[in-house]
Amino acid sequence: MLAYLVKRVFQAIAVMFAISLISFAIQDNLGDPLRELVGQSVSEEVRQQLRDELGLNDSFLQQYLRFVGNALQGDLGTSYFFKEPALDVILKKLPATLELVFAATLIIIGLSVPLGVYTAIKPNNILSRTIMGLSIVGISIPVFLTAILMIFIFAVGLRWLPSYGRGEIVPVWGSWETNFATVDGWLHILLPAVALASIMLPLFVRLIRAEMMEVLQSEYVKYARAKGISPRRIYFVHALKNTLLPVITVGGVQIGTMVAYTILTETVFQWPGMGFMFLEAVNRVDTPLIVAYLIVVGFIFVVTNTIVDLIYGLVNPTVNIARMGA
């Protein structure tokens, strides 16, 4: 187990190293820090002097090591637009994105488990067929289109719900302001969260259904039935437990995917989170902010994947740890 853990952590570090190299290459080639600093109207001599002072004439290796050194101390440069440390800008936007992901995850868990179990238990029933039919329609609608459709219906047509922004938010701690404390906040997060959930929900319903159907065929479920245990207990205690393991693994990986989809949802709903900020940074060629986003998101991906893998190794006794570590 320890060897597996070490290998996993080592791999995570290797991936972060690759991300840092890519980020540095972007920072090195995208935009001109001098122009952002002093503008165009400075003589060539002064420019050279400034380049020396800033260390822009150093070797690639020296510059890269400095970049990594600064990054490890939390210094990812200063945003050209906000004139603030890039990491601070991102951390200020992070809670909005995380709350959106959290709300969407709640919707997904709350709906996919009952729907998946139901469609597995009664596969030929009309309701199950409808759910499965809707799930394939759900997979086929891109998340931004779901979002637009919902704005069109609930914001433009019925005028029930707001179509943009976070609404009334309440500060909790530091730069974390929450949507969940006021009714207005809940109303604002509802549409974006449903839109974000809409892409994952069908996937999970199908996954839980498929796993559950397989488990229900297994010997131990037959044995439990023969013993006369109530169906409800078999479904929810015996079968569901063993269904959840693969679901957790897929779920962990999908958290990363959700971060990508937040860019789409946040753009449509003008949700002031990281994803919306990233696209703005791209339009302004705000290199430090782009690089900082890349590193923060890469870090989120690597950490969630490593944790999921470790949990999977811990929880599932049948995982051949030696093989997985190879």
């Binding site: 394939i136 329609v137 997979i139 891109p142 289109l145 990363g256």
Partner: protein, 314 residues
């Protein structure tokens, strides 16, 4: 005299017609309807230059006075424009035909690239085994752990910022194909590797080896044809996903430019106008996109049931 021809073997076409695969297709109304709709959309896209009343790429043909006209069937519709016009006065019907063509081309080419990369890597990993295998599969794991959309967004955003939107727009088609194609290779590689591992142990591979065939020939001529059915199954899903990815990227402004719109960029340009009531610029391309992806997914679902029920685990 007996007629020998009365009981002759059915011809090649007849055998295909009666095969399990085609039989189950004929007996499945959902699959037949999906296929019909898909062929219809594909034909319309292919024939776009002949079906479209105007060339949607030529701004000199648009009249700004015609902008935001609703579709023909609404009260203030104009008979010249079947689906109405967009904000620049461009005929939406023509734009959708050309846009569908772009979306389909990008989707199919991206999947072809994925398949080429993924199948080669999967074959090598499965056939060679050992260190090469574990290294390649580790790479696949890492690549898979980063969502395609994320990788594509970051790559396209950075290239766009680096080269400026003009140069970017010129090469947008190739960039989209490349990034969607490269990011999804592990899907193929994993599946192919798994089938190769199973096929490798079979006797026909041993006999090919005994006959002195080289590894390349065995991999491509012997093992690959026996691994085709899972490849078909994932290909349909991958095409649907690639079309969605392209639309999403174009919607974010990281794909096809508004001057040469795909379905995603059409939806994006219409989004600014839904608040003022011009719903058709977004809705009609949106419906086309969803129908296109849906029929491909339905065909994929049917194919998965027929070819390989075991793959159903998702």
């Amino acid at each position: 005299m007996t007629d020998i021809n009365a009981t002759r073997e059915p011809g090649r076409l007849g055998r295909v017609w009666n095969s399990n695969f085609v039989y189950s297709f004929r007996k499945n109304p959902v699959a037949v309807v999906s296929m019909a709709i898909f062929l219809l959309i594909a034909a319309a896209a292919l024939l776009a230059p002949w079906l479209a009343p105007v060339d949607p790429y030529d701004p000199s043909l648009f009249d700004i006075m015609d902008s935001e006209l609703p579709p023909v069937w609404s009260d203030s519709g104009d008979s010249r424009f079947l689906f109405g016009t967009d904000d620049q006065g461009r005929d939406l019907w023509s734009a959708i035909l050309y846009g569908t063509r772009l979306s389909l081309i990008i989707g199919l080419c991206a999947v072809a690239l994925q398949a080429l990369l993924g199948i080669s890597i999967g074959l090598i990993a499965g056939y060679v085994g050992g260190r090469t295998d574990s290294l390649l599969m580790r790479l696949a794991d890492i690549q898979l752990s980063f969502s395609t959309l994320m990788v594509a967004i970051i790559f396209l955003a950075v290239t766009q910022a680096m080269f400026g939107s003009e140069t970017f727009n010129q090469y947008a088609v190739f960039m989209l194909i490349a990034v969607i194609g490269v990011a999804e290779w592990p899907q193929y590689a994993r599946t192919v590797r798994a089938t190769v591992l199973a096929e490798k142990k079979k006797e026909y591979v041993d006999s090919a080896r005994v006959l002195g065939f080289g590894p390349l020939r065995i991999m491509v001529r012997h093992i690959l044809p026996n691994s085709l059915s899972p490849i078909f199954v994932i290909s349909t899903v991958q095409v649907a996903n690639a079309i969605i990815s392209e639309a999403s990227l174009s919607f974010l402004g990281l794909g096809m430019p508004p001057s040469q719109p795909s379905l995603g960029s059409l939806i994006s340009s219409g989004f600014d106008y839904i608040f003022s009531g011009s719903w058709w610029i977004t809705a009609i391309p949106g419906v086309v996109l969803v129908v296109l992806v849906l029929v491909i997914n339905l065909l994929g679902d049917w194919m998965r049931d027929v070819l390989n029920p075991k793959l159903y685990k998702g």
